[in-house]
């Protein structure tokens, strides 16, 4: 397992939105996609701990507040496009609990709920060079595939050396998502002004520790 790595940030973004950045961590992929019982119990415990009153008070807490402010600053309305922790909270209330969606997604959910920092997982071997943030140019497509969704010029994207991989705070291109043959995962978290770097790293380590927990090794999906 490597140490968390700071991604690059394009100059115009660094100048306008100080504090915005991406931090990534490469970890071995779990052999199976199924969620072990211990991780399910962790999700259940989080569901029990998280109540309606918590969801209401969420936007007053420093970390979710920092993401709401960043959403406003980049032209997203956090009451339309929910910040990830609020989206998870609403889903928890609607579904009655955090629903298990496979080990990798569950590990990301656990880290998100525990820290408030959103993170995503990519197939590390599909990524070319370190991740970073930049503005998309015209005629670019997510993941670089001809049939992938197009980005709009000026859109803030998470990118590698080849192509944009995901819109900022959006879902990554399907071509870069972990699949059955994935051997290494690249976890990345988006940090914003007002969220200490330690918090972002904590989210990555939490996710990595869930993926590395007993019962996740040697399972068949």
């Amino acid at each position: 397992m490597s140490a968390p790595q700071d991604g690059w940030v394009a100059d115009e973004l660094r100048a306008e939105l100080p504090g915005l950045g991406v931090v990534s961590l490469t970890v071995p992929a779990p052999p199976g996609g199924r969620t072990p019982q211990g991780v399910r119990e962790h999700l259940d415990a989080l569901s029990t701990r998280f109540r309606g009153a918590d969801a209401l008070a969420l936007r007053q807490r420093p970390i979710p507040h920092a993401y709401r402010v960043c959403f406003r600053h980049v032209g997203l309305d956090p009451d339309t496009t929910r910040v990830p922790i609020e989206a998870a909270a609403i889903e928890r209330l609607m579904q009655g609990g955090f629903v298990s969606r496979g080990l990798i997604a569950d590990a990301c959910t656990i880290a998100l709920v525990e820290t408030g920092v959103p993170l995503w997982a990519l197939d590390a071997d599909a990524v070319d060079g370190p991740l970073g943030l930049r503005l998309a140019t015209a005629d670019e497509r997510l993941g670089g595939d001809a049939d992938a969704p197009a980005t709009s010029a000026g859109q803030i994207v998470v990118a590698d050396a080849q192509a944009p991989i995901a819109p900022l705070f959006g879902e990554p291109a399907a071509s870069h998502l972990p699949a059955s043959g994935t051997t290494r995962l690249l976890l990345f978290a988006v940090g914003v002004a007002g969220v200490p770097r330690m918090h972002v790293e904590e989210a990555l380590w939490q996710c990595a520790s869930v993926l590395d927990a007993p019962g996740t090794r040697g399972r068949l999906g």
């Binding site: 209401l56 406003r72 600053h73 009451d79 000026g154 803030i156 900022l168």
Partner: protein, 158 residues
């Protein structure tokens, strides 16, 4: 500051000032967002507050005009939420005063109902001015305030 950065700023008139203006607007947006968030727990679904300000354009770098629009929309929304909460506080105060009058003199407030939500209390209780002993109490002028037992019980699905 490097020489090249300084040269860039000098070569683009207004660029430096605009960046400072955008920074100020972003700080104002952050402050308004914090003030709105502080009001969120006080707002109930019955207030019908719309939180969204719409006009999604991101994620991208916003210009001065767009940041100004967001700042203005947030300020308007904050004002609207404060007005809604203030109007509700006035309504609840009136209902609490009415409840006090009902409790002091039920006979002068016949059949009036005040619910717990009307006075800003949680629960489903209702204070209702009713005659004691039904028709006899109505004829004799024996009125009292009865507090209903609470929320209706959940019924099994048919």
């Amino acid at each position: 500051m490097t020489v090249s950065a300084l040269a860039h700023r000098l070569s683009v008139p207004g660029a430096y000032d605009e960046r400072a203006a955008r920074r100020t607007l972003r700080a104002q947006v952050a402050r308004l967002e914090r003030e709105l968030a502080a009001l969120a727990p006080d707002v109930s679904p019955r207030d019908g507050v719309r939180w969204s300000i719409g006009g999604e354009a991101g994620p991208r770098l916003l210009g001065l005009g767009e940041l100004e629009r967001i700042r203005d929309d947030l300020a308007e929304r904050l004002h609207a939420v404060r007005e809604t909460l203030a109007a509700r506080a006035v309504r609840e105060a009136e209902q609490r005063a009415l409840l006090e009058r009902m409790l002091r003199d039920p006979a002068r407030h016949r059949f009036i109902r005040v619910s717990a939500t009307d006075v800003g209390e949680p629960g489903c209780g209702v204070w209702h001015v009713r005659p004691r002993l039904g028709l006899i109490g109505m004829l004799a002028g024996w009125w009292h305030v009865k507090l209903s037992s609470g929320c209706p019980l959940a019924r099994a699905a048919a």
